[in-house]
Symmetry: C2
Subunit: 117 residues, 2 copies
DNA sequence: TTGACATACCTCGTCCATCGATGTATATTG
DNA sequence: CAATATACATCGATGGACGAGGTATGTCAA
């Protein structure tokens, strides 16, 4: 699979979990489709290698945030479908709050608000 | 120095560089003050260890994004003052663009816009 | 039918960064 | 004079990205 990203390694790492959890919050999906969805959402700027995607999915599964199920797709192919668990939904809320806090911290510096008199 | 963060390791990593560059864009500063400023900006949520702060500063210096100068402070103490270089200013713009792109990617999922007819 | 390509899953080793621990030293304050 | 805040630094363990490598199936065109 092709590799490439305009994003720094760190930004990829920081966005991977919230991104996957957020996509799965829309409904179940599977590895390959998840990678494509991320690519599409990021305007082709983030193209995960499957070498990084699957380990992340396995980790999330171990933590109980997502659950996997092998199932046959319409085209007769076996796919591993993932869905968000209750814990996953909670984790997503935390991830979201953390991200927004970080964003707020940065935007304070980028869009300084003058102190009101 | 006390350690602690509500933020994930990954989010800390992703925000460290843009945060430091953004603060230094306001004017020169030094290690200890930078750590305090980050803490204050993040509403006490991010408290970098100096064990992580100094290596990051050294790395940024190696890359030529910031420049260091030992100078005596008003209180007679020696401090290592850092300032943003021209390259650093350019790097900040890139970091900012990357962050905003990642933010956009996530917020698409959090605040879905209906397709206009 | 054969070859190319997209789909679909997986693991492993290298490299890099966080972060706790540890060390040193000075100014301030009780 | 002891405690605390300030101020710098390195190091080793751990964890995670990511390129390389591996397997297998469905589709489509020559």
């Amino acid at each position: 699979m092709y590799i490439g990203s305009m994003f720094s390694r760190e930004l990829i790492a920081a966005s991977a979990r919230p991104l996957l959890l957020s996509i799965l919050a829309e409904g179940e999906s599977y590895g390959y489709a998840l990678a494509q969805r991320v690519r599409q959402l990021s305007q082709e700027q983030v193209q995960w290698t499957d070498g990084m995607l699957y380990p992340v999915l396995h980790r999330l599964e171990e933590e109980g945030l997502i659950a996997a199920e092998w199932r046959e797709a319409e085209n007769g192919r076996e796919r591993k479908y993932y869905r968000l668990t209750r814990d996953g939904r909670r984790a997503l809320e935390k991830e979201k709050a953390q991200w927004l806090a970080a964003h707020h911290t940065l935007t304070q510096l980028w869009n300084p608000k003058p102190v009101s008199t």
